[in-house]
Amino acid sequence: MTRPLAQGLFRRRTWSRLTDLMIFAGALAVFSAALTIGRTWLGPFTPVAELSTSPRALPGYAAYSLARIVIAYALSLAFALVYGYAAARSERAARVLLPLLDILQSIPVLSFLPGVMLAMVALFPRRQMGLELGAILLIFTGQAWNIAFSFYSSLKAIPRELDEAAKIYRFSRWQRFTELELPSAAIGLVWNSMMSVAGGWFFLMACEMFVLGRRDFRLPGLGSYLQTAADAGDTRGILWGLAAMIGVIVLMDQLIWRPVIAWADKFKIEQVESAAGEREQHSTVLALLRRSGVPAALYRKVIAPAGERITLFFARRAGQAPSPRPAARAAGWKMWLGRALAAALVAALGYAALRACLALQQLTSAEILEVGRGAGITFLRVSVALALGAAWAVPAGVAIGSSPRLARIAQPLAQVAASVPATALFPVVLLVLIHAGRGMGLAAIVLMLLGTQWYILFNVIAGAMAIPTDLKEAAGIFRFGRWDRWRKLILPGIFPYLVTGMLTAAGGAWNASIIAEYFHFRGEIRSTPGLGATISRATDAGEFHVLLAATLVMAVIVVTMNRLVWQRLYRLAETRFKLET
């Protein structure tokens, strides 16, 4: 009777050997790709890269785009950790840093384009590296802010007694960071990273191919491939490019995100095993990786000993330090450094404000009118897109969230659909709409809708799942009619989640307007009046003062809407509509 057992063991061992081989092959592929990419980037300056329209070039272009997004993400993560930590540690810093984050989040990616690009080209005048860094930094501006915010919130949400335990047991700063702060932020970081990388794909086209002043820039990559194909009206090219992008995204999802989410389950700050109803995250890739010998060996031989040595180093150093010097002396140099930094910041801001005012003075009344009109029209457009999105996402979300069977089918489908960047679909959408005789106005709303309806849908699903069963039962027993059920149970129940979804969707819609309202298609520029179109047009034409004015107006509108509308609704959601006993 040992034969079936031996066979089972044998099969398992072959599988783990196979996984080992695949890991080695994968590592080798990544290494050689990195080498090739590095060689191009350090090579000669090619402002307008030659793009081949053949589908065979696609894997290469995909690799370039992927590299840019990954590096931008790494930068975003590093930035977020530092920024979030600074804001969480010091109340005074938080008073400046948090509103600043709010404002930065409301500035569309394209508005950073002139500043970033000019800076990079100035730093590396005749090198490809300058352009690449600029593209990477641009992608960074679309990724960094929400991760920073998530890390800050997680730090503030650490349970008080865990914090006290770390203090009383004399954790060094390093041990505190690796064993308390980072793990408690892990889940938030993972989900926000997914959103950020998706945002990277969304804006890829704008970051890889753009016009700055009188110069054209084009970097080899999927984004520029798609935009070139759209410009040329090459339908086949568009479809191939789309397929390549979706392929890469799905691959990343399966190979990276799903295993990471499954692994991050262990960081949930819940003290009890989740109820049977909640599905535990599964990932075949993670299971395979766990069985393979390579990651475990790597951990045991390299990572764990290194981590141990660093932790002990800091622990011993903390132990040897003299008892905390009286408050006066400690504040000494730190206080002066803080003051110096603050002074420098104020000076920089003052200078920037001065330059901005000077630039704004160049505005003609026609341009001011354009900006004003554009703001109004885009505002309407965003509102319509939000209303349409909510109109279909709320009923669908409630239906999916209330029925586990439906959820099992619909959720993975929705997740795949949501991961396709709407900007990549845009040429196809335009084609269809132009055939039907409609214009950019409608297309812009459709694009905004495509990009943001998923936020509303997923949040409503979560909200519908969270409605307690006993409330549903009470509604059933008292024979609530459909209208009553919606009015008294469902809508109040999902209200907090709906607000979160709409808030994120609104921000996304404003940001998407720069592409939705102004697009290079078939050799001509298709645009419709709006603030996003103004920003894109001004970037194209090099009219930086118009760009500045339009950006300011957009930032002001988004931040004001946040304060006046969304935060109020959020507070209402927290007090009146909170579903906890």
Partner: protein, 435 residues
């Protein structure tokens, strides 16, 4: 006062005080100037009702929180912001969910720079001692409450602290598990298996304190102040039904229900030199008060407090606020640890629902100044309505923000029961009911 050899004192608090400064210069005192000495070789229990500030006191003693005034001396040296060689067992266990049991216990050793092999050895030894052998690789979410607290205990003890602090360690556990763990703690302590010189236990459970402690310090509230500090002379194992045990519990109830000298009711002459404290509403519901009075009626109108608590299986923490509330309303008399119904209390217990409301309303308006104040203020307005923030501001001057909010909630609850006013939570408005 118990004799604690000055040379033996490990931890000493001198004039330790916690207060909050008001913008207008006034002070809200949470902990009155307190002197405390922790010596070696004993289990000391700090006993007091919930919310009285004993956890704050613990945090000041361990260096986690800074006192507003006064000093904490560790072996004669002031603490000044560092953490002394102590450990804390927390009420909510405070285990790191992403670390295994072994990693949780090793973490404090890691923080002290102990090498990996030595760490593992010491951690495994202590896990064995608390009975968790075999669970080293388990994660906290796989463990029951009792096991989690064992891990918390193992973690606290593995660094060999000089004083082991325990902040209501058994409150989050069910009765049976708590009982088991208490027994194990005692066993380990009496067998000298715990490498610590003193245990400082903070609790609100009177029986727990008498079962475990060699010395009990009773803390009053508003503001927190030591009301009693005495030695428990009982031998282990301690019988809960023994005469001396019951006597001690009774004595503690007596101490806790003794009126404080400064608690002058409005209208009475102020005792010379003592500041008059703004009367604090105990957080009890009219339903609870009614229930207590009915039960007393059943027992011919009087009973022993600790016997009542034991039979109702209520902790002092839950029973005392109700008793205090009934006392303020004039329905009860408390004397030497015994409660007795007054004539009004008897009438209340015997009445029907509507009559009760009327009696409650009368008693509230007569004895509760805050409700009287609220009724007057509402009457003074033409539309008979006021926002709740108005009264919140009044309370804010006398209580911390949390306590002010709770006081207002209790007052509104009583006022609604007494049909004094209506309250709309959405708009936050109080409206006088027309009689």
């Amino acid at each position: 006062m118990p004799e604690t050899n000055a040379a033996e004192a490990i931890l000493e608090a001198r004039a330790l005080e916690k207060f909050f400064l008001q913008p207008d210069g006034g002070r809200i005192e949470v902990i009155a100037p307190t002197d405390l000495v922790v010596g070696a070789g004993k289990i000391i229990a700090l006993l007091g009702p919930s919310g009285c500030g004993k956890s704050t006191l613990l945090r000041m003693l361990t260096g986690l929180a800074r006192p507003s005034a006064g000093q904490v001396l560790w072996h004669g040296q002031p603490l000044d912001g560092q953490t002394p060689n102590v450990a804390i067992v927390f009420q909510s266990f405070a285990l790191f969910p992403w670390l295994s049991v072994l990693e949780n216990v090793e973490a404090p050793l890691e923080a002290r720079g102990v090498a990996a092999i030595e760490r593992r050895k010491r951690a495994l030894k202590i896990l064995d001692a608390v009975g968790l052998d075999g669970f080293e690789t388990a994660y906290p979410k796989e463990l029951s409450g009792g096991m989690k607290q064992r891990v918390g205990f193992a973690r606290a003890v593995v660094v060999e602290p000089e004083v082991l602090f325990m902040d209501e360690p058994f409150s989050a556990l069910d009765v049976l598990t708590a009982e088991t763990l208490r027994g194990e703690l005692l066993e380990l302590w009496l067998d000298h298996k715990i490498p610590t010189r003193a245990i400082f236990l903070v609790t609100h459970n009177i029986e727990e304190a008498v079962v475990l402690a060699d010395r009990i310090i009773v803390l009053g509230h508003n503001p927190a102040r030591i009301r009693a500090d005495f030695e428990v002379g009982l031998q282990h194992p301690r019988e809960r039904k023994s005469e001396r045990f019951v006597e001690l519990v009774d004595h503690i109830y007596k101490v806790l229900t003794q009126p404080t000298v400064e608690h002058a009711s409005p209208g009475e002459a102020k005792p010379a030199g003592a500041p008059v404290r703004y009367p604090m509403l105990p957080h009890a519901r009219p339903g609870g008060i009614a229930g207590l009075l009915e039960i007393l009626l059943d027992r011919q109108g009087r009973d022993d407090l600790h016997r009542l608590a034991a039979e109702l299986v209520m902790e002092a923490d839950d029973l005392l606020p109700i008793v205090e509330a009934a006392q303020i309303l004039g329905f009860l008399r408390v004397q030497e640890g015994d409660v007795e119904l007054t004539a009004e209390g008897r009438a209340f217990a015997e009445a029907d629902i509507l009559t009760r409301k009327m009696l409650f309303r009368q008693a509230a308006l007569t004895h509760v100044p805050l409700l009287r104040q609220m009724e007057c203020a509402l009457k003074a307005k033409a539309d008979r309505a006021l926002p709740d923030d108005f009264f919140h501001d009044v309370l804010d001057e006398h209580f911390t923000e949390d306590e002010a909010r709770r006081q207002l909630e209790t007052a509104i609850h009583w006022g609604r029961y007494a049909e004094l006013f209506d309250y709309d939570a959405a708009t936050g408005r109080l409206v006088l009911t027309e009689t």
